[in-house]
């Protein structure tokens, strides 16, 4: 079975290059551009890992994170942030985020981290 990844970012370009990058590495990738879309996609697409931007229109990343973690606690969520303020990071971690990374992204690191999360899922 293919590893499933949901990319959530209001910047279409970011979703696109991440999508091509992960599809290259044999992931099944879906994208969403707002918090509301993200929650819907989690329900329909059932990803293993979600890459979730914090600052987004409609529902922001933290609210989306709360909903996702409430409904699907098994889904791994990695927060992506442009501005790493301590209180945001702290809030995200308290809501159950599994890690956070900051923009600009290091793809190498990101891939390793996503891989790690999926492996930990398989281990459960």
């Amino acid at each position: 079975m293919k590893k499933k990844l949901l990319l959530v970012d209001d910047e279409v370009e970011i979703c696109e290059f991440l999508k091509s990058f992960f599809e290259d590495r044999d992931y099944q990738v879906a994208t969403a551009h707002s918090g509301v879309q993200a929650v819907e996609q989690v329900e329909s697409f059932r990803p293993d890992v979600v890459l979730l931007d914090i600052q987004m229109p409609e529902m922001d990343g933290l609210s989306a994170l709360r909903e996702i973690k409430e409904k699907y606690p098994r889904v791994k969520v990695i927060m992506v942030t442009a501005v790493e303020t301590q209180d945001r990071i702290e809030a995200a971690m308290r809501l159950g985020a599994d890690n956070y990374i900051t923009k600009p992204l290091s793809l190498e690191y990101l891939e390793k981290d996503v891989q790690e999360k999926i492996e930990s899922l398989a281990g459960i």
Binding site: E11, E13, I14, F17, L18, S20, F21, D24, Q55, A82, V83, E84, T85, Q86, D87, I89, E90, M93, R94, N99, Y100, I101, T102, K103, P104, L105, S106, L107, E108, Y109, D113
Partner: protein
């Protein structure tokens, strides 16, 4: 037993004069007695050889003390003019004090002049607290150095109660104690002992007790009469308003300083929050495009196995990735200093952080022929902090040093050691580069201060902010031809709970905040 060599010549002269006069009076009395006795006392006693001796002994026993005191007072008043001279000095002082508004200077003047002019053993000017439950020593003469500055004499203490009852009169220990019951006298004596005095001159301003001058003499011989007390009272009345005024001015000055301080703090805070907002805004707007640029470049680089890249294209892509990260670092640094640090706390290994930082800058340093010498005290105590922040300190200092040295080659010497009774961790960071001009020494820690065109000027500023968060201090010394020396002092932290951070910045759930992304 007298040791005259310890006394001043005037005192010796005084003793000799008193002795001579007493001897003269005694001789005169003896002569008069021997002359008049036969006429006064009839035979057989008048002719008896023992009669004059007995009479003289009788007269001596009864009259010696009063006569001696009279002679002394006479001498003091007429020959040594001690009191009149003292009074003149004190009046001059009172006059001078009218124009003096420096509270400390005024207190010292009063105490010293009082003590000198009246040959006193102890003098103290005690200022009443605002809280009214005690006095503070403004200035003292003849008091042990270790005396605490506060004297606990509340409104209900016998001495203060007595002052309120008597008004601005001088309180004299001896007669006052005699007029009280045994119990009251004991309590009063304790208060007099507390201020080490025999006399207390209260100072009233607008009907309010504001201070007192407490003084004591060397020996019980020193006596003041009614006139003296009257003079002291007048002196007190003229000095009290000066004390009150200067005290008021002192309060105003202090308030002014505090106001300036809080203004500066407020200014700093508003300035910071403005920069913080700006930085957060810029970071958001800039990091997204940067993420796209860098992301696309990384995708291309990672696909090179499938679609090989020209070497110069690959190099260009690498540069793009590197430079986007550098651009993001600027806003990140801005953010870092403006935020309260709620960064996770962990046990810091200076050795490890230093090694990592040297590994980072080592390449550049070796290109510039810079020798890095590292020295860490193996017995450094456990230090709790945030590794990122401590690394930032070292990194900024290294980058600063590398810039200061330039490509001429040189030396960077880092030492982490424990100092000042093992309570402070000291980082000494010496570089052999260009010295910092004297006029820049104060400014190098300011934000956006830089002498280089391509630099942002936040490195040392951020460093200082971090050091401050740990309750520490940073300073720089620079001398021509010797480069510069940065000294950072961080108060030692013994346990996770005892971090010296200024406020409640301790992470509530610090342990889960592991930044794996770093």
């Amino acid at each position: 037993m007298m040791f005259f060599h310890l006394r001043n010549p005037k005192t010796v002269l005084r003793k000799i004069l008193v002795g001579l006069i007493l001897f003269f009076i005694g001789a005169m009395a003896a002569y008069l007695v021997s002359l008049s006795l036969p006429h006064v006392v009839g035979n057989p006693w008048g002719a008896h050889p023992l009669t004059p001796i007995l009479t003289m002994t009788l007269i001596f026993l009864v009259a010696y003390k009063p006569v001696e005191r009279c002679v002394k007072v006479f001498l003091e008043k007429n020959i040594f003019r001690k009191k009149s001279y003292a009074q003149w000095t004190l009046m001059e002082l009172a006059e001078e004090l009218r124009t003096n508004l420096d509270f400390q200077e005024l207190s010292n003047l009063i105490v010293n002049t009082f003590g000198e002019a009246l040959h006193l053993k102890t003098v103290a000017l005690l200022i009443r607290d605002v809280t009214r439950d005690g006095f503070e020593i403004a200035s003292a003469f003849g008091w042990p150095l270790a005396t605490s500055r506060r004297i606990f004499l509340g409104n209900d203490s016998p001495l203060v109660r007595c002052i309120h009852r008597m008004g601005p009169h001088v309180l004299v220990r001896g007669p006052l104690l005699k007029s009280l019951s045994w119990q009251e006298a004991n309590e009063m004596a304790r208060d007099f002992d507390l201020v080490r005095s025999c006399w207390v001159l209260p100072l009233f301003s607008k009907g309010d007790l504001i201070a007192m001058i407490a003084f004591g003499a060397h020996s019980p011989d020193t006596v003041f009469d009614e006139w003296d007390f009257h003079f002291f009272r007048k002196f007190g009345e003229s000095v009290a308003p000066c004390v009150a005024n200067s005290r008021y001015v002192q309060g105003l000055r202090r308030a002014n300083f505090e106001l300036q301080d809080s203004q500066a703090e407020w200014f700093q805070k508003t300035k910071m929050s403005a920069i913080e907002k700006l930085a957060a805004g810029i970071a958001h707007e800039v990091h997204n495009p940067l993420a796209i640029i860098s992301g696309k470049a990384q995708v291309l680089l990672m696909q090179k196995k499938r679609t090989p890249l020209e070497p110069h294209v690959e190099e260009a892509l690498n540069v793009i990735v590197k430079q986007t990260r550098r651009a993001a670092d600027i806003t990140r640094k801005l953010l870092m200093y403006s935020q309260d640090s709620r960064a996770p706390q962990e046990e810091i290994s200076f050795e490890k952080i230093l090694d990592e930082t040297i590994a980072l800058v080592g390449y550049q340093a070796s290109l510039d022929k810079i020798e890095i010498i590292k020295k860490t005290d193996p017995s450094l105590p456990t230090f709790w902090g945030n590794t990122q922040e401590i690394r930032e300190i070292f990194l900024n200092l290294f980058l600063n040093a590398v810039e200061a040295i330039g490509d001429q080659g040189g030396r960077i010497q880092v030492e982490v050691r424990i100092s000042e009774g093992e309570d402070v961790i000291e980082i000494r960071f010496q570089n052999s580069g260009k010295e910092i001009p004297q006029e820049d020494l104060d400014r190098i820690f300011n934000p956006f201060f830089t002498t280089r065109h391509e630099a942002v000027g936040l490195g040392l500023f951020v460093t200082r902010q971090i050091v401050k968060r740990y309750g520490g201090a940073i300073r720089v010394e620079s001398q021509s031809g010797e480069g510069s020396l940065f000294i950072i002092q961080l108060p030692r932290t013994t346990a996770e709970g005892e971090t010296p951070r200024a406020s409640a910045e301790k992470p509530k759930e610090g342990t889960i905040l592991v930044n794996k992304g770093a």
